[in-house]
């Protein structure tokens, strides 16, 4: 689970927060409601997750209320990988 979180964190830091210290992007930082990820960035993140973890994420699973924090996203990935 922590591996998944770190993979997501590294991706967001690399692509959307270049130069940021990993400590400032916590599992609970809101990503979309805060403006860190816009709609385009969210789509790219979904594509990245699907390719990295060999899973499929449906559009209805990326609603802003269940796909806003690294903790939620990692839980979704873990659930998909387990399925």
């Amino acid at each position: 689970m922590d591996n998944v979180k770190d993979t997501i964190r590294d991706y967001i830091l690399r692509e959307y927060l270049p130069g940021e210290s990993p400590a400032n992007l916590t599992d609970e930082t809101p990503l979309r409601t805060s403006g860190i990820l816009d709609s385009m960035a969210t789509l790219n993140l979904v594509t990245f997750l699907e390719e990295s973890f060999g899973i499929t994420i449906d559009a209805h699973e990326t609603g802003i209320d269940q796909f806003d924090r690294i903790a939620d996203i990692a839980a979704l990935v873990a659930q998909k990988k387990g399925a």
């Binding site: 130069g19 940021e20 805060s34 403006g35 559009a59």
Partner: protein
């Protein structure tokens, strides 16, 4: 000609045809739309709104908003639409700038009028929304129900129809004044070029504060066709948007290339039947050929058009894209020749002389679609006279090609286009300067292979006071529209300065180049 005449004529000829389909799926006939807009006009007249006034409209898209825009124009006033998701302070500034006498708001935008530190508070009418209507002001449904069917007080063709606010070069939004004649010159040309029919089903993807909406609204309603309003959330969800096109058998599509690129990549178009689409228009930015090719391959039956023009001139050049697109083509398509209601000349950016055919220069436009000026600002420096015509510099560098019209080269100044929105980098700087721990701010835009344009903010702060990048992103999300949020934040000890002590933007661009080269080298090693 007045834009309302289109609706009134269609309502006489096709009273029971569907005029507007709401994002909720609810339909409005031409009779309903025409009558409701007359009641909106009656409400405004009864509340002291006079011909020539300005009236704001800030809300998500709905049939009520469409009726409201027509109602404002039927009252002889000009509508002033704005982004309901933008910060309240920005919206309040632009409503105050053009001194609106009334404003139609979504209840979620109550902050805009909760304080009004300006002269004369406007009449407030609350459009139906998802949150409760504030106590002060009148609910739209009540206003309309109580209002008489007012006779239209249509403005003359040279009267203002709407004011669209764009980013200003000083960072303050500028209100582009557009008349009925400006719009009808374009709409009537669309009739000739695209051949709309009452059986057509138009998309309305662009928000009403974006000038692409002029085609959707008025060409559709002029011809008795049905206008399908695309909600803001649906508009950004490619899979659902693609399904929306297929399910509703849309025939006319108009959006920025960004949206079409998203549809091509993420829309799942291979599984959908979109064969109803017969005309696809795009405007607002350069369409990467890779994505244009894939959308053309998915929709081979449609005619594709590239429309070009700043808000100040409306669409002023157009090009039909020859399809299919050869697999080896990478050059973006030309923006084409001028539309018949316009004239264009290419002038040297330095000495203002006409350039030899084929040389690069600034595109200048004259003609019926040319705006009247910016609200509250002098017009002296906006236009120049030549051959007894009034010319406006688009600020875009083009060159002319035999048989193809103009080829777009780029923008001259610091205005950039991102996802179809025009951004003046000064406005982002102004937003960032509101952060109390930032000392200096300079924003540049550089071309980027994947995003089209990348926005970099260079910052300085007091030692030990540096905000985190997460904090800056969140801060920008609060003070700026999302499309203005910078991609990269870089802290420097001091900003580079020119000899006259101005920020050296070219120096920042140069600073960025070796840095990305280092990044690229690092990436290839890892």
């Amino acid at each position: 000609m007045n834009l309302c005449t289109y609706l009134e004529r269609s309502a006489r000829e096709h009273p029971d045809r569907i005029a507007v389909v709401d994002p909720s799926g609810r339909t409005w006939t031409y009779r309903e739309l025409d009558e409701t807009s007359s009641r909106v006009a009656g409400f405004l007249a009864a509340n002291g709104v006079a011909p020539g006034d300005r009236v704001g409209a800030i809300a998500p898209k709905s049939a009520e908003v469409v009726a409201t825009l027509f109602g404002i124009m039927k009252a002889g006033a000009a509508y002033v639409p704005a982004d309901y998701t933008a910060p309240s302070t920005r919206n309040r500034t632009l409503l105050a700038d053009c001194a609106v006498t009334a404003v139609f708001l979504d209840p979620s935008c109550a902050d805009i009028v909760s304080e009004w530190p300006h002269e004369r508070r406007p009449v407030v009418c609350w459009l139906p929304g998802s949150v409760e209507t504030p106590a002060e002001g009148i609910a739209w449904a009540d206003a309309v129900a109580a209002a008489p069917l007012a006779p239209s007080r249509l403005a003359a063709p040279e009267g203002l129809a709407y004011i669209l606010y764009t980013s200003g070069s000083t960072g303050v939004p500028k209100g582009v004044k557009l008349t009925h004649r400006n719009a009808t010159a374009f709409v009537d040309w669309c009739s000739d070029e695209f051949g709309p029919e009452p059986t057509d089903r138009f998309s309305s993807h662009a928000p009403f504060h974006f000038d692409l909406s002029v085609l959707d609204l008025y060409v559709s309603l002029k011809h008795g066709a049905a206008l399908y309003l695309v909600s803001e959330s649906l508009g950004k969800t490619p899979q659902d948007l693609a399904a929306f096109i297929a399910t509703n058998r849309l025939t006319m599509w108009y959006s920025t290339p960004s949206i079409l690129s998203l549809l091509a990549q993420f829309g799942g178009l291979d599984k959908l039947d979109c064969s109803s689409l017969r005309v696809v228009q795009f405007a607002g930015e350069v369409f990467p050929v890779k994505h244009l090719r894939s959308i053309v391959e998915r929709w081979p039956q449609a005619r594709f058009y590239n429309l070009y023009g700043p808000t100040e001139t409306n669409v002023c050049t157009f090009a039909r894209i020859p399809t299919p697109i050869p697999p080896d083509r990478t050059e973006p398509y030309p923006i084409g020749p001028v539309c018949p209601y316009c004239e264009g000349i290419v002038l040297d950016s330095f000495n203002g002389a006409e350039v030899p055919f084929g040389d690069e220069g600034l595109l200048h436009i004259a003609g019926a679609s040319l705006f009247e000026g910016y609200w509250g600002r002098p017009t002296d420096e906006l236009f120049f006279e030549r051959d007894r015509r009034r010319w406006y510099s688009t600020g875009d560098v083009v060159r002319e090609v035999v048989g193809e019209g103009y080829v777009y080269v780029g923008r001259r100044d610091r205005m950039v286009k991102r996802r179809g929105y025009r951004i003046e980098l000064g406005e982002i700087e102004r937003g960032l300067y509101q952060h109390e721990r930032l000392r200096e701010v300079a924003v540049i835009a550089v071309p980027d292979a994947s995003a089209g344009v990348k926005i970099l903010a260079y910052l300085t702060s007091q030692p030990g006071e540096r905000p985190s990048i997460v904090e800056l992103k969140v801060f920008c999300g609060r003070v700026l529209p999302s499309y203005m949020n910078p991609d990269v934040f870089v802290f420097l000890e001091a900003l580079p300065r020119t000899s006259t002590n101005k920020v050296d933007y070219q120096g920042l661009v140069r600073l960025q180049q070796p840095r990305s080269a280092v990044e690229a080298a690092g990436a290839s090693k890892s």
